[in-house]
Symmetry: C2
């Protein structure tokens, strides 16, 4: 849907020129009519919606900050908007929840062009819609610095299907969906000042970094099968996720280096940059795949649920152990400590 | 409750030094144990809570951005945290909703000290708790620029008690709670480089700017009495709120200049700065009082509800009219157009 044209449209260059009312009208036009359950949508002090019947409410928020998570000279605004929503949908997927509504909180530099604003909003709304969620409201404010796209996502889940980070037991296998390392490879490529069009592999990795796909259907299917004892998304890397599931569940963990499904293009791109693919796959964030703890006797039910989701497959990369102090990576050369993931402040869920 | 001490505490100076895990542990310690309805609180991919029974869900978010809404050399971090929550509670109050949970999304400059982080988080959590809401989760990320405190608030309200901006009719009276202009006066005083301790009136206005009180009980009482046909909070000023209620309800509006309850200290402070108190009361934002449209025959029920709330009283400042193009201010000198409020991008609800 195209944004509304106004009499002055030709003269609008930036969000500052347009003013708040015009920006909200553009978002409302992109969103379309509210569904029945959303009794008050865009344009009031708050959104009002029917409580999910016989389900629980799942709430998460995550901000994408210019200069920290994205650069506008690297990434087009539609992709920025899509990713800001996708990373929140990924959190819902990790809980087994169905996306329901999102709120969009935008801190906009006054110089942002209307065209970029429209593309960003359209990307966010399209990503939500593709996952069955509707934009219910939010907030627009000026930023004195970077562009900030903060998204709140609300989902729904049956009480008995919620997957948390806790709940896994020693002996449970750790399974990861799809492949890892491509987002880290794409980011490293851009950071090295290389052109994404230099090779198809580089282009593929950059696309994974800029447009992650939340594994919503897969998360829902696994939650419905009740085959996983714990789940988490890989926003901060595989090693971090394995460690967090282990810690929350009161376990230790060993990962098998050879079993880690490094994305084939990521391997090529990282080697071209002189980086170790396994290290990037373990510690690089932003893959937004899912990690599940699965008891051996539920393995077939888990695999069946993953297959029914119709997306990527999952592979077993290690297991939880009874020794709470054990955080190990098993390689061909022996055992080594699991990397710690991001050690300094980057981004983290409260 | 004090934040957890760690072995390294003495050496932690900034949030960058502390790292994300330590920051989340500090917030969790400030929050305390989760209530029964919050089945998954801080520390997972998302928060999970029971759906409100026989009520609707009310969702809003609002960001406070350093350099746009606050300055750290003016305002202490506890007040910044409190206000970031209060402005969201005010949106819930305007809908007639009871605060339920909040999410806290923080974009932190790496140089922010741990002491300031603790005070900001403590302020946000205390403000929420004082209104009956619990911190359920959120997100921490690094900021490449200003400190951003983005809050999502979820409330609950019975379907028949929701108050929106629409619903008012020609002839309905417009009532405003408490007094207006003090926040604008306090902001103007700080902006002029004056010391808040120069006079008790200045100190009072600065306090109103820095620590607004959301009119939650009042909003709930009026919603329960079903005496108001529309409601909105005064985040962007009285003139803007009156205009928005009128536009959403398909009406015009006239306000009586003499009836506007300008805060007494605001009058003195603004005159000392050479500003017009009425203009500041009309166009200055941040008062976070509530505006209600009330049919004359429901006036006594409305006043009774306001009294039962035990807070500030409300006064009638004008009425809605049938002429949708009429936006008038009646003064001693005649009639003039109602000021437009903020014309450029500052902050606005989607």
């Amino acid at each position: 849907m195209r944004p509304p044209h106004t009499a002055k449209r030709g003269s609008f260059l930036t969000v500052q020129d347009a003013g708040e009312r015009a920006l909200i009208a553009r978002i409302a036009a992109l969103t379309g009519p509210a569904p029945d359950f959303l009794t008050i949508g865009i344009g009031d002090d708050a959104a009002v919606l029917d409580s999910p019947v016989r389900e629980q409410v799942v709430l998460t928020c995550d901000a994408q900050v210019e200069g920290v998570h994205f650069r506008r000279d690297w990434t087009d605004p539609e992709s920025i908007g899509r990713k800001a929503v996708a990373v929140n949908l990924s959190d819902l997927a990790a809980m087994g929840a169905a996306p329901h509504v999102i709120l969009l909180s935008l801190c906009l530099p006054a110089s942002l062009t209307i065209e970029d604003f429209d593309a960003l909003a359209a990307g966010a709304i399209a990503e939500a819609r593709g996952a069955g969620a509707v934009l219910a409201g939010g907030n627009i404010t000026r930023s004195s610095g970077p562009l900030v796209v903060d998204v709140t996502a609300m989902g729904r889940v049956h009480r008995r299907r919620v997957m948390t980070r806790a709940g896994a037991r020693p002996g449970d296998e750790l399974w990861v969906t799809g492949s890892v390392g491509a987002a880290a490879a794409g980011f490293a490529w851009l950071e090295a000042g290389r052109d994404r069009h230099e090779s198809p592999e580089a282009a593929e990795c950059v696309a994974r970094f800029e447009r992650p796909a939340a594994r919503i259907r897969l998360g829902r299917r696994v939650a419905g099968s009740r085959s996983a004892t714990a789940a988490m998304d890989l926003s901060d890397g595989l090693a971090d996720a394995a460690r967090q599931v282990a810690e929350a569940s009161g376990c230790g963990v060993t990962l098998e280096s050879d079993a880690i499904p490094v994305h084939p293009s990521a391997g090529l791109v990282l080697l071209a940059l002189g980086r170790d693919p396994i290290a990037a796959a373990l510690s690089g964030g932003e893959d937004y795949e899912l990690l599940f703890a699965v008891p051996a006797k539920r393995r077939r039910a888990f695999q069946s649920a993953v297959s029914r989701a119709g997306g990527p497959q999952a592979v077993c990369v290690g297991r939880l152990t009874a020794d709470r102090t054990q955080f190990e990576l098993v390689t061909g050369a022996g055992r080594e400590p699991l990397p710690a993931g991001f050690q300094h402040l980057v981004t983290s869920r409260i």
